[in-house]
């Protein structure tokens, strides 16, 4: 077990700046998830921590020790790849015991530890098979087995579940959560699936264009996003954003004639965008309404209903989360109200303006 600290880490490939001055600390046994859009540098950051790539600047500390210049094998890290990276010519047992074999441990001990690891991951009946003869989920377990057998200080996962189908992904997610509880090892987990991020993480690190946008617990990021990017990235379906427009000194929702002043208790001239999550949009009486809209599409999901509405305030449809028994139908005109206390306001740069 060890903590990880990145100090002003940067990385460029040639001219291209991929990671820009990342500072961040993960405590002992913490489960950290890196999320961000494709190409934002999540994998690169992970590879810098592993030592597969060298930093262009800054320092990396694992367990208080500066490992910036150490080789991957000297850092005490283990990594699980998205592609599983199993050796096709080795059996499951040989794949799991790979690190121990390299360390020249006695055969009997390797065998015993492979059995033990295989039992934890429930692949003990597959030990003689080759990777080709395994399902995706089984391969993933074997890959995890290979990395836990050495008792590494830190586990790194790079999108380990993205090659699995949806149902299996949920199962493996639970299994990884269980594994973390059992081993108590510090884990850094990269994903662009925000459900994975929300469910697994102690803390989420939201990355965008090689910078950290925000670090915090899942609920913290959900309730109090630091900026428009985080607000839009965390949460599914995504938050609705309404541009504010100013005409003759008054503030309106987009191109509509709905005044916005009532929604902005501490109105400041900097407010540019208003954000509200689908579950905080409600039907209301006309005299209480913030916005009028027309129902465009209704998605019945069983447990809830997603309603997409056309408004004058927005170019894109506004999403509303309604109860399953909702009777809204396409074409219907409705009045909407945004739940007070759950309205986010962003300035022109996209930073959150506190409304509390």
């Amino acid at each position: 077990m060890a903590d990880i600290e990145l100090r002003n880490v940067s990385k460029h490939f040639g001219e291209a700046e991929i990671i820009n001055g990342v500072d961040f600390k993960a405590g002992h046994g913490e489960f950290i998830v890196f999320v961000g859009p494709s190409g934002c540098g999540k994998s690169t950051l992970l590879r810098l921590i592993t030592g597969l790539d060298q930093v262009s600047g800054g320092q990396i500390l694992i367990g208080g020790e500066d490992v910036t210049r150490l080789r991957p094998s000297q850092r005490g890290v283990a990594m699980v790849f998205q592609s599983y990276a199993l050796f096709p010519h080795l059996s499951v047992a040989e794949n799991i015991g790979f690190g121990l074999r390299l360390a020249k441990l006695p055969k009997a001990e390797i065998k015993q530890r492979v059995r033990e690891t295989a039992r934890i991951l429930r692949v003990e009946d597959l030990l003689d098979r080759k990777p080709r003869q395994l399902s995706g989920g089984q391969r993933q377990r074997v890959a995890i087995g290979r990395s836990i057998i050495r008792n590494p200080k830190v586990f790194l996962f790079d999108e380990p579940l993205s090659n699995l189908d949806a149902a299996l992904r949920v199962l493996m997610r639970l299994e990884i959560a269980r594994l973390h509880k059992r081993l108590g090892t510090t884990m850094i987990y990269v994903t662009h699936d925000q459900t994975e991020a929300m469910t697994l993480a102690d803390r989420i690190v939201v990355i965008n264009r090689g910078r950290i946008e925000q670090i915090g617990s899942p609920i913290n990021l959900y309730d109090a996003p630091a900026n428009r990017f985080v607000a839009g990235f965390i949460g599914s379906p995504a938050m609705n954003f309404v541009e504010l427009s100013r005409r003759e000194g008054d503030c309106y929702l987009g191109a509509s004639d709905q005044g916005a002043d009532a929604l902005l208790p501490q109105f400041t001239g900097e407010a540019a965008v208003l954000g509200v999550r689908p579950e905080h949009v409600m039907l209301a009486d006309a005299d209480m309404a913030d916005l009028r809209a027309t129902v465009e599409i209704v998605e019945k999901l069983g447990s809830e209903t997603m309603v997409y509405l056309q408004t004058k305030a927005m170019d894109t449809p506004l999403t509303m989360r309604a109860p399953p028994e909702s009777r809204l139908a396409p074409g219907e005109r409705v009045s909407l109200r945004f739940e007070r206390g759950h309205i986010h306001v962003f300035d022109h740069e996209g930073a959150t303006i506190s409304t509390r």
């Binding site: 597969l52 010519h89 690190g99 080709r132």
Partner: protein
């Protein structure tokens, strides 16, 4: 429309099929046919002699000698270029300085014909002023004046060295291609798990090169079966049949002793041997396919 494509198909197939029939199928069958005769190669009169030619093979000491030489030749011609090509590929891949240059240099001999390669090595082996003896003279201070190609002990080995020199470049290039097709993340696993160079090469890289090895061995087998020209140029099977292979023996019997019937019988046997080797090979290939797909 249907019709005209049909015509074209026949027309386009006609040429290769004809070539195949005239130069492969027909000689194959005529060899088989002549192996039951005592034809001398040019006289239009010949008699059927039944299995006499095949019976002669069994008692022919030179045939046995040729079989042994063929086995030696094939084993060496497969193993040496494969091993050397692999070693060179691994070295160049490990980013030794000047790797790209060495790659071209080692590949160069493949571009030469066997006749040219043979001639180059005849000069290298030349007893009085050849490169090999000159170097030995420099090192030991004593000029051996040894005729490498004219002594039964060294003739076959010397040709094998020349042959390997030419074939190694081909194996190397195929292995280099194989190395680039090894998934990068597997090598990264080696790095993270702490494999040293030797462990990585032995446990991971060489096994993962199996598909490339299959290709290299296949080419070596095929090339060595065809490897008649370089022997013909360098030793002609001599001295005293010490470098006689089956192909060489067949040639000598057919065209030097004018025993076309007997030569044909040898060629039929050679064909059957080649067929067996290739069948075994394809069976192994399927096994490899199952693992590496």
């Amino acid at each position: 429309m249907e019709r005209s494509t049909g015509y074209w198909r026949v027309a386009l197939l006609a040429l290769p099929v004809t070539v195949f029939a005239v130069f492969i199928v027909w000689p194959l069958f005529s060899s088989f046919y002549y192996s039951f005769t005592d034809w001398n190669g040019f006289n239009p009169d010949y008699d059927f002699v039944g299995f006499t030619n095949y019976a002669k093979i069994i008692t022919d000491k030179l045939f046995l000698n040729a079989v042994i030489n063929t086995v030696i030749w094939m084993l060496a011609a497969i193993l040496l270029p494969t091993a050397l090509g692999l070693a060179l590929a691994l070295l160049i891949d490990s980013r030794v300085p000047g790797g790209a240059l060495f790659k071209s240099i080692f590949y160069l001999p493949i571009c030469l014909s066997a006749v040219v390669v043979g001639q180059i090595w005849i000069w290298i082996y030349q007893p009085d002023w050849g490169l090999l003896n000159t170097v030995i003279a420099q090192v030991t201070g004593d000029h051996p004046r040894y005729a490498w190609l004219a002594k039964p002990d060294t003739a076959l080995g010397s040709v094998i060295v020349a042959w390997s020199w030419q074939q190694t470049g081909l194996s190397m290039v195929i292995f280099l291609a194989g190395l680039t097709s090894i998934p990068g993340d597997l090598l990264e696993v080696c790095e993270i798990e702490g494999a040293n160079v030797w462990q990585r090469t032995r446990i991971v890289v060489i096994p993962l090169l199996t598909p490339a090895t299959v290709v290299v061995v296949a080419l070596s087998v095929i090339n060595s079966l065809k490897g008649f020209d370089i022997l013909y140029i360098m030793t002609g099977g001599g001295p005293f049949h010490s470098s006689d292979t089956l192909a060489m023996h067949m040639y000598n019997e057919s065209f030097k002793k004018y025993l076309m019937g007997y030569g044909s019988a040898i060629s039929v046997v050679l064909f059957l041997i080649a067929l067996t080797v290739i069948r075994i090979y394809f069976r192994e290939l399927r096994r490899v396919d199952e693992i590496y797909g």
